[in-house]
C-alpha cells in the first residue's frame, strides 16, 4: 500500500486526446509525480507506442527525460473493470492519489448507445477504480472533465450549481455527458470535482491545437468563402476558451485550488464573445464578406447550391452551437483561480493567432507538433 502522504501517482484517462495531452504536459513539467496513463490499446506494446507518440508531440527531443515517469497501461473504458485484470487494478489503486478522467467521445453524431458506452459507462468504470483507490491507499481527488454543454438547450443563466434544469439536448454527446455527471454526483463519498469547459480551441500564445472541430468548422468555411450565411443570431454568445486556460484550470482545481464536491465552469465568463464578433473578425482576417446571420428556422428553409450546400451539410452537427441562449456563470471558478493568475482571455485577443496556426497547419491536414509550435 502506498504511503498516505499526498503526492502519489496521477491516473489520467484520455492522455492521447487534446485536453488530456496538455494536462499530461503539466504533470510532467510541474511535478515529480508519476503518471499512470490508461490508453486504449490492444496490448502493452501498443499502449507504449501511443504514449511515446504523445510525448514526442509534446516535448520532441526532451521526450525521453519524461518517459520514465509515465506508465502506459492498455485499457478499455467500455469493458468491465476497464479491461484490466484485478491484480493490475489493485496495483494501480494502491499507487494513485489523484484521478483525472478526461477520456470521452466528443463526436456529436454517435448513436446514443455508443456515446453512452464511452461517456457514461466509461465514467462508471473509472469511478469503480476511484472507489478501489480510496479503499486501498487514499484518494485525494477525482477530477471529472465534463462539458458546459450539459446545459443542453437551456436558455438563460446556467450556474455551477445547476445540473438538471429540465433541459433538452442537441446531441448524444451532451446527453451522455449529462448522465455521466449524474453518476459522479451519486458518489458523494469520493472527493470528486466536476470541471465543465465550454468550446475548447487552441493555445492563446501560438494557436497550437490538436483538434479542429466545433468552432473551426465555420472558421474554415469562412476562410474558403463558402459561407454567405450562418444559422445564428448575431448577438448569441459563443463561449470559447483556450486549451492552455483549460489545462491550467483542471490542473489547479484537481490540486489545492479546487474543492471536492464542487463543480467549476471553465468558461469565458465576462469575456464571452458573440457570433457576430467572431464571424466579423474571421471575415476581416481572411478578407472575405461577413456571413449573414440568419435565424436558424429561416436558414433551414433557404436554398444553397454546390460547394456552399456541401459546407452546410458538413457543419450541420455544429449549427446548434451558433444559436445557443445559455450563459455560463463561472463565479466560483474565477474566485478560486484568479488569485493564482489563471484566467480566461477574450477570444478576440487571440483569434488571429488561432487562424494563423490553422492556416499554417492547413486546418489539421499538415499537423504541427506542439513542441515545434512552441519552439518556433
Amino acid at each position: 500500500m502506498r504511503p498516505a502522504a499526498a503526492g502519489g501517482d496521477v491516473l489520467l484517462t484520455g492522455a492521447t486526446g487534446f485536453v488530456g495531452m496538455e494536462l499530461l504536459a503539466r504533470y510532467l513539467e510541474r511535478t515529480e509525480r508519476g503518471v499512470v496513463a490508461l490508453v486504449r490499446a490492444a496490448d502493452a506494446r501498443e499502449a507504449d507506442a501511443r504514449v511515446d507518440e504523445v510525448l514526442e508531440n509534446l516535448f520532441a527531443g526532451r521526450a525521453r527525460q519524461h518517459r520514465g515517469r509515465v506508465a502506459a497501461v492498455p485499457a478499455d473504458l467500455t469493458a468491465p473493470g476497464l479491461g484490466l485484470p484485478l491484480g493490475v487494478r489493485e496495483r494501480i489503486a494502491a499507487r494513485v492519489s489523484t484521478i483525472v478522467h478526461c477520456a470521452a467521445s466528443v463526436s456529436f453524431t454517435l448513436p446514443l448507445h455508443e456515446a453512452r458506452s464511452i461517456n457514461l459507462e466509461g465514467t462508471r468504470r473509472v469511478l469503480e477504480l476511484a472507489e478501489l483507490a480510496q479503499r486501498r491507499g487514499g484518494l485525494d481527488r477525482y477530477g471529472h472533465v465534463s462539458t458546459a454543454y450539459v446545459a443542453g438547450d437551456h436558455c438563460g443563466g446556467f450556474s455551477e450549481r445547476d445540473h438538471d434544469v429540465g433541459q433538452g439536448f442537441h446531441n448524444s454527446y451532451e446527453r451522455s455527458k449529462f448522465e455521466a455527471e449524474h453518476l459522479v454526483r451519486r458518489h458523494p463519498h469520493l472527493p470528486a470535482t466536476i470541471l465543465r469547459p465550454s468550446i475548447v480551441v487552441g493555445h492563446r500564445t501560438n494557436g497550437w491545437t490538436a483538434a479542429f472541430n466545433v468552432l473551426y468548422w465555420p472558421l474554415r468555411a469562412i476562410a474558403q468563402g463558402l459561407l454567405t450565411a450562418i444559422p445564428a443570431y448575431p448577438t448569441s454568445p459563443l463561449d470559447v476558451v483556450s486549451i492552455d486556460y483549460v489545462a491550467d484550470a483542471v490542473y489547479a482545481l484537481c490540486d489545492s485550488a479546487g474543492r471536492a464536491g464542487r463543480t467549476y465552469h471553465l468558461t469565458a465568463g465576462p469575456h464571452v464573445a458573440t457570433i457576430g464578433e467572431i464571424a466579423g473578425q474571421a471575415a476581416r482576417y481572411f478578407r472575405r464578406p461577413v456571413p449573414e446571420a440568419i435565424p436558424p428556422a429561416e436558414f433551414a428553409a433557404q436554398p444553397a447550391e454546390g460547394a456552399e450546400a456541401s459546407a452546410r451539410r458538413a457543419g450541420a452537427a455544429y449549427y446548434p452551437y451558433l444559436s445557443l441562449r445559455a450563459v455560463f456563470d463561472s463565479e466560483a471558478t474565477r474566485a478560486e483561480l484568479e488569485p493564482r493568475g489563471i484566467r480566461a482571455s477574450p477570444l478576440g485577443e487571440y483569434l488571429d493567432r488561432l487562424l494563423d496556426f490553422a492556416t499554417r497547419s492547413r486546418w489539421g491536414k499538415r499537423p504541427i507538433a506542439r513542441a515545434n509550435a512552441f519552439a518556433a
Partner: protein, 72 residues
C-alpha cells in the same frame, strides 16, 4: 422497432434510470411513455416518445428489471 440494452446499474438513482430510457432519436426523456414487461426470460421495456413518436424497446438484465420494478 429500435432495440437497445439498458445502461443503468441497480444502484443508480431514479433520475439516471429514467434517463436511460430517453428517446434515442430526439433525446427527450420527459416525454417518454414506457410499459415494462419485467417477468419472464427476457425482461424489457417498451417505450414511446410523445415528442417525435418514435417507438423502441429496451432490454434489461435481471437486476435491472428488479430495480425498475421498484419504480413501477
Amino acid at each position: 422497432m429500435l432495440g437497445d440494452i439498458a445502461r443503468f446499474s441497480p444502484h443508480d438513482p431514479d433520475a439516471l434510470v429514467v434517463a436511460s430510457l430517453a428517446c434515442p432519436v430526439c433525446l427527450h426523456s420527459g416525454s417518454v411513455r414506457w410499459e415494462a414487461s419485467l417477468r419472464g426470460y427476457d425482461p424489457s421495456v417498451r417505450c414511446r416518445c410523445s415528442s417525435c413518436h418514435q417507438r423502441w424497446r429496451v432490454y434489461l438484465a435481471p437486476e435491472q428489471a428488479l430495480r425498475l420494478g421498484l419504480m413501477v
